[in-house]
């Protein structure tokens, strides 16, 4: 091996190209790493040549020509490589354009953009709009997007064969410009795999994260994610049943009459038996899932549960109380054939100022944040909400307004026991509110820019905020300064979610990536790339193994938390996905979107993508059901403990339905007639 290298180097130095080629050709089996290295070194020499013999006469027209040829070559290449190779088109496109701009070929840049941007419009429309505003040499470094592109390498994963093909093509066709771009601006990770076997995701393989692909892979190796959830109350059945019956005895109705007068022993025994059966069934289901899912199998049989004292948490007794026995017993078992009921809460007269809505854990309360800095609390069970604060005047029977923030309220999250909730606002503060006194208890200031989202830990005590300042922060309710600052995103952090075991926080950002942070160390432990638009919503699966993220372009991707690979991508929404939630048994995923619909996805179905698995009897892409609202974008979905789907959104009579084009003529006529009825419905409220 060594001698070979020496001989090769000698031949190269003496420029005995034929001898070198012959030596290479001798049927010696090269390892893939060597191959990649060789390709790289070849690129390097060529770049050197290019710089040495750069012909100043080679005008800006060369960019247009070579990019067009590259594009043609990729679109006409074999289907097996087309998908992965096309991932390289966008970064090359961006850098060609930026090169043109920075070399002050304004006209050519304009032509270039006009000619080639339509083919990227579907996936990168937001980026193209920004790129279009970069028209001057100075802009290239001032513009956020172009400077990100210039200062970070774009990550692309290619299979070894695909990479070799690409390098051959670029070399043979003598595209020095493109080679330089690929070499300088793009970080190609050559995966040792055949194309299309899943290593290279079929959708948008590239991403800009500020981390190289190698660094991201290192993260996966360096940190094991303990995604298991803590053992719940299931272990202490008997204690709970007795507790349960005590609780029932204490219940009284309005007139002070006990609601349930005695729980007979036989009923108790029956409860006991049915509970045991339910627990067994639950265990069976999780086992089934493990067998069915290849990625979960990698992580071993027993889910890795973090140590209970890894981060300080509330007492376990208090934790187990959160999920009461009664809730589990009355929970409806869902599947792709047994679908949930959905209750829709439609808001009227919001004048486009409703920013967010959030349900309490049991679904009995809803908090809404408005653009006029106010928070409105609604009791969905019709109780009065005055609480202990005598100064609070209810505006309606079941609603009060809370004032405190000095800017639009963008995020709200209830504590798991629904006694408190945290709000996040444009004024850069988060506030803790008590449901007992209906007053503001604590102001948490630390972010100096608007806070976009807040999430309270499912185990209480902690909450996380996501801000425009590109950081997310972890707070505990008893401290006014943040405990951790999660920094690393390249753009606004738009959404944040807590892992069910509270040891991890996931953040979604406008930089199109999702990151997972370790609460204990504050480090980023995973980066999930694959979205082609900003991430708008996140949800963890109840078993803690999977993470779903929804983007502004309507894509929903489900990730395996530990391996950082995407498991499935659900497409169908035509507008931003504002909210996601898993059903309590983790079989269905609900997504709420700006396109006036809620969609239910079958998480357990196995499909590669919409085109290959499409059969007559099954809907494509894991879609189980879509619920359509009447002119109401859906801001929030949540499964209540009984697995009833709760949803909220503001009624916007003037907003055209995004589905109008899909309708048959007869249906369209009916929809138009109905819109009139809808408007009258609005005014009567």
């Amino acid at each position: 091996m060594d001698t070979d290298a020496i001989v090769l180097a000698y031949l190269k130095r003496k420029q005995y190209e034929r001898a070198e080629a012959a030596l290479n050709h001798e049927g010696r089996v090269e390892s893939l790493d060597d191959l990649a290295f060789r390709a790289y070194s070849a690129v390097d020499t060529n770049v050197a040549n290019y710089i040495l013999f750069h012909n100043p006469k080679e005008g800006p027209q060369a960019y247009l020509e070579s990019y067009a040829r590259l594009k043609d070559w990729i679109t006409t290449s074999l289907e097996a490589y087309r998908d992965e190779l096309s991932a390289i088109l966008f970064p090359v496109f961006v850098h060609c354009y930026l090169d043109l701009v920075s070399k002050e070929h304004a006209e050519e840049a304009k032509t270039f953009l006009a000619r080639f941007s339509p083919e990227h419009a579907a996936a990168h429309s937001a980026d193209l709009a920004q790129l279009g505003s970069v028209t001057h040499k100075q802009h290239v470094l001032q513009n956020k997007l172009s400077s990100t592109f210039r200062t970070n390498k774009y990550n692309v994963r290619l299979s070894s064969y695909g990479f070799e093909l690409l390098v051959r093509f670029l070399q043979e066709a003598d595209f020095m410009l493109l080679l330089a771009i690929v070499n300088e601006r793009i970080n190609v990770l050559v995966a040792e795999a055949k194309p299309n076997d899943g290593v290279v995701p079929r959708f948008a393989a590239g991403a800009l994260t500020g981390l190289s692909v190698e660094a991201m892979d290192e993260l996966v190796e360096a940190h094991q994610v303990h995604w298991g959830t803590f053992p719940s109350f299931k272990e202490s059945t008997h204690a709970l049943i007795s507790e349960f019956s005590e609780e029932l005895k204490g219940l009284t109705d309005d007139e002070g009459r006990p609601l349930v007068f005695n729980l007979f022993t036989e009923a108790q025994a029956e409860l006991d038996a049915s509970f045991a059966a339910a627990a067994e069934e639950g265990a069976g289901r999780s086992k089934r899932r493990k067998r069915g899912d290849g990625s979960a199998a990698e992580t071993g049989d027993a889910p890795p549960v973090p140590e209970l004292k890894r981060i300080p948490l509330l007492e376990t007794a208090e934790l187990s109380e959160l999920e009461s026995f009664a809730e589990v017993r009355s929970r409806m078992a869902l599947s792709s054939t047994a679908l949930p009921s959905a209750a829709m809460y439609t808001f009227f007269n919001t004048y486009d100022t409703l920013n967010c809505a959030s349900f309490s854990r049991s679904g009995g309360l809803m908090a809404t944040g408005f653009g006029d800095s106010s928070i409105r609390l609604w009791d969905l069970e019709g109780r009065h909400l005055t609480g202990l604060n005598p100064e609070l005047v209810p505006i309606a029977e079941n609603s009060v307004v809370l004032h405190g923030h000095s800017g639009p309220v963008y995020g709200l999250s209830f504590s798991p026991d629904s006694r408190f909730f945290v709000s996040a606002s444009q004024d850069g503060t988060a506030r803790l509110w008590s449901m007992e006194t209906r007053t503001n208890l604590v102001v948490y200031s630390g972010h100096s820019f608007p806070i976009w989202d807040v999430a309270v830990s499912p185990l209480g005590h902690y909450f996380a905020t996501a801000s425009h300042d590109t950081t997310a922060r972890l707070w505990s309710t008893n401290m006014v300064t943040p405990l951790r600052i999660f920094a690393g995103h390249l753009s606004d952090v738009d959404t944040v979610a807590f892992h069910p075991n509270s040891n991890y926080v996931a953040t979604g950002s406008s930089d199109k990536s999702v990151r997972l942070w370790d609460v204990q160390s504050g480090n980023c432990v995973r980066v999930y790339t694959g979205h082609t638009d900003g991430v708008a919503s996140l949800a963890f699966s109840p078993d803690g193994a999977k993470l779903a993220s929804g983007a502004h372009n309507g894509a929903v991707i489900e990730w395996d938390i530990n391996s950082a690979k995407s498991l499935k991508s659900y497409t169908g929404h035509k507008g931003a996905v504002w909210s996601l939630d898993y059903a309590h048994d983790g079989v269905l995923l609900a997504s709420a979107s700006a396109d006036h619909s809620i969609r239910l996805w079958d998480v357990e179905s196995r499909f590669l993508d919409a085109s290959t698995s499409r059969r007559q009897d099954t809907p494509p892409g894991g879609l189980v059901k879509a619920f359509y609202t009447k002119s109401t974008p859906v801001f929030n979905v949540k499964f209540n403990p009984r697995n009833v789907l709760l949803a909220a959104g503001p009624f916007r009579a003037s907003e055209p339905s995004p589905h109008v084009d899909d309708l048959s003529p007869a249906a369209k006529a009916q929809a138009v007639g109905d819109a009139g009825a809808a408007i009258s419905m609005d005014t009567t409220k």
Binding site: V260, S341, D492, A666
Partner: protein
């Protein structure tokens, strides 16, 4: 100045178009030469401010052309504010928020404006100006108003004409002029205050019931839904949802009747699609036939086998609605057939007790037949038949249902209680109905009896006395009355025992006099016990002593078990 220049420079990289504001009186000299190069490649709009002060300025404006900028167009951050407001339309507030973020002074006077200011081409303005002048002539107004109006329109038309002249010189450009409507001063002064905006409110409805979107006005019309689902490659909803089902869900599923305040009114005028046939397998159909004929038949062995099968066999879930309907229907048609009714109640018990059946959604259909078997006026062909046992059995079923679902459907037990108490206190109902009601109340526990039965005992006994005394003249009536009396005895006894047990367990504070508590093993006679309890529990609210006296303290029934 330097700082602002830097600020604008930084911002320029992210803008797509430039709005340049200059003074119309000195268009060329009010441009910013420093930034001239920066914006050379940007599309821009030159706004000539204070245009009403000049005529000639318009010429200059056009001659100077448009080249530089002073104010950048909306920064990128504004779209973040739009996204987090979950809107698809950028508002002036978003832009101001974004400017605030950059420590740039916001644009005042635009926030809250619902519609953008109207910009018209010169021709259009001229047209409108003329009509405004015409209006002024036609409508009779006060002289000042007319003067003000015509002056305003004169100014406008002068300005427009200047612009038109400018446009004529440079015929490749379209010039837009902001159109300000001419409003009389008096109109503004005397205009009534605008209406206060309506408070935000919400309405709730069922978007879907078990995966099917019901045809209620709050949802999209069925035809539209079907078309949308077909577009997604999904099968249209096949199973119709009856209004009963929706109401039942509205009542129960969210653990409270008032969970969906908007529901009730919305559902009244619901258009309900007809049922689509629910396909059952051949085996299940045969099973159903066999089971139903077995339950109402005379073969006890078969009957027991069927009931056991319903109670324990998995896989019968599809038949649940049919079974429930069978029970309800058969009870309604065979009200005089005691054996059949008894069998049906046993079937209901089997359905309720099965671990495999999910009976909760059908409770509202199953409860009426059970209550009928408890409260029915006459449940047998001959009065002498033992229908009392059936009533007690039905009462036990109610108790079972309440213990199982009472916590999930909070309104269930109060509703049943109310029905029973109403039946008991209605003197127009026969004694048999009263018997069923009291049996139900007794089954629900001593506290219910204490609050619902005992206070009314005196009045009821007075009502019952003639029947009790009827004796041989009307044997049936006397027998009924005596059954009733026995039940009432049992009821009082339950309360006594429960209270005694509470005292024994020490749950009630011991008597003030410090009397020794009676040992639990040998409860004293009822009369003595009642007396003692009255002392021990001063806040009992019910005179137990009086109740016992009313029924006769030395009745042998006190010791007999019911």
């Amino acid at each position: 100045m330097h700082k602002t220049t830097k600020e604008v420079k930084a911002m320029l990289s992210q803008v797509q178009a430039v709005v340049e504001v200059r003074d119309a009186r000195a268009l060329a000299s009010t441009r910013n030469p420093i930034l001239a190069n920066q914006v050379a490649h940007k599309p821009r709009i030159v706004v000539a401010a204070k245009a009403d002060l000049v005529d000639k300025a318009w010429m200059e404006a056009v001659e100077a052309g448009a080249s530089e900028s002073q104010r950048a167009s909306p920064p990128v951050e504004a779209t973040h504010f739009m996204q987090h407001g979950k809107r698809s339309k950028l508002t002036t507030a978003d832009i101001n928020n974004a400017l605030r973020l950059r420590n740039v002074e916001v644009l005042y006077g635009h926030e809250g404006r619902e519609t953008a200011r109207e910009y018209l081409t010169v021709d259009e303005v001229l047209k409108r100006g003329e009509t405004a002048e015409d209006d002024g002539e036609v409508v009779g107004e006060t002289s000042e108003e007319r003067k003000a109006k015509s002056k305003a329109s004169r100014t406008k038309s002068r300005r427009s004409k200047a612009a038109a002249a400018a446009a004529a010189e440079l015929d490749n450009e379209t010039i837009y002029v902001p159109y300000d409507e001419v409003v009389g001063f008096a109109d503004i002064i005397h205009a009534p205050l605008p209406k206060a905006p309506l408070e935000p409110s919400f309405a709730a409805h069922w978007l879907a019931v078990e995966g099917v979107q019901p045809a209620v006005p709050a949802n999209l019309p069925p035809l539209v839904l079907a078309s949308l689902l077909a577009g997604e490659g999904l099968a249209p909803d096949v199973v119709g949802v009856s209004s009963d089902q929706i109401k039942a869900l509205g009542a129960g599923s969210l653990a409270s009747t008032s969970a969906l305040p908007g529901t009730a009114s919305g559902m009244e005028d619901a258009q309900v699609r007809p049922f689509v046939r629910h396909v059952l397998s051949q085996e299940l159909q045969m099973y159903y036939k066999m089971a139903t004929s077995g339950v109402v038949g005379f073969d006890d062995e078969l009957k027991n086998a069927v009931l056991e099968s319903i109670r324990s066999d998995p896989g019968l879930h599809q038949l649940v609605p049919y079974f429930v309907h069978f029970v309800a229907h058969t009870v309604a048609v065979s009200l005089r057939n005691l054996p059949v009714l008894t069998s049906l109640m046993r079937m209901a018990q089997a359905l309720l007790e099965s671990e495999h059946l999910h009976i909760a959604p059908y409770l509202h259909q199953l409860m009426p037949p059970i209550l009928t078997c408890m409260l029915g006026r006459r449940l047998c062909s001959a009065p002498s038949e033992n229908h009392w046992e059936l009533r007690l059995f039905a009462a036990r079923l109610v108790r079972y249902v309440c213990s199982l679902y009472g916590s999930a459907y909070a309104s269930l037990q109060p509703r049943i209680c109310k029905t029973l108490v109403r039946a008991f206190l209605d003197p127009s109902r026969p004694v048999t109905t009263h018997y069923g009601a009291v049996a139900g109340l007794v089954a629900l526990g001593p506290r219910v009896v204490q609050f619902a039965v005992l206070p009314n005992l005196e009045a009821y006994m007075a009502w019952l006395a003639p029947a009790l005394a009827a004796g041989d003249a009307e044997p049936d009536r006397a027998a009924e009355a005596s059954h009733m009396r026995t039940l009432l005895l049992t009821a009082v006894k339950r309360v006594l025992e429960a209270s005694a047990r509470a005292v024994v367990a020490g749950k009630v504070v011991a008597a003030p006099e410090g009397k020794p508590l009676p040992p639990s093993a040998d409860l004293p006679g009822v009369a003595a016990l009642a007396g003692q309890l009255a002392d021990l529990i001063p806040d009992m609210q019910v005179d137990l002593q009086a109740c016992v006296d009313l029924l006769g303290a030395d009745d042998p029934a006190w010791t007999a078990s019911p």
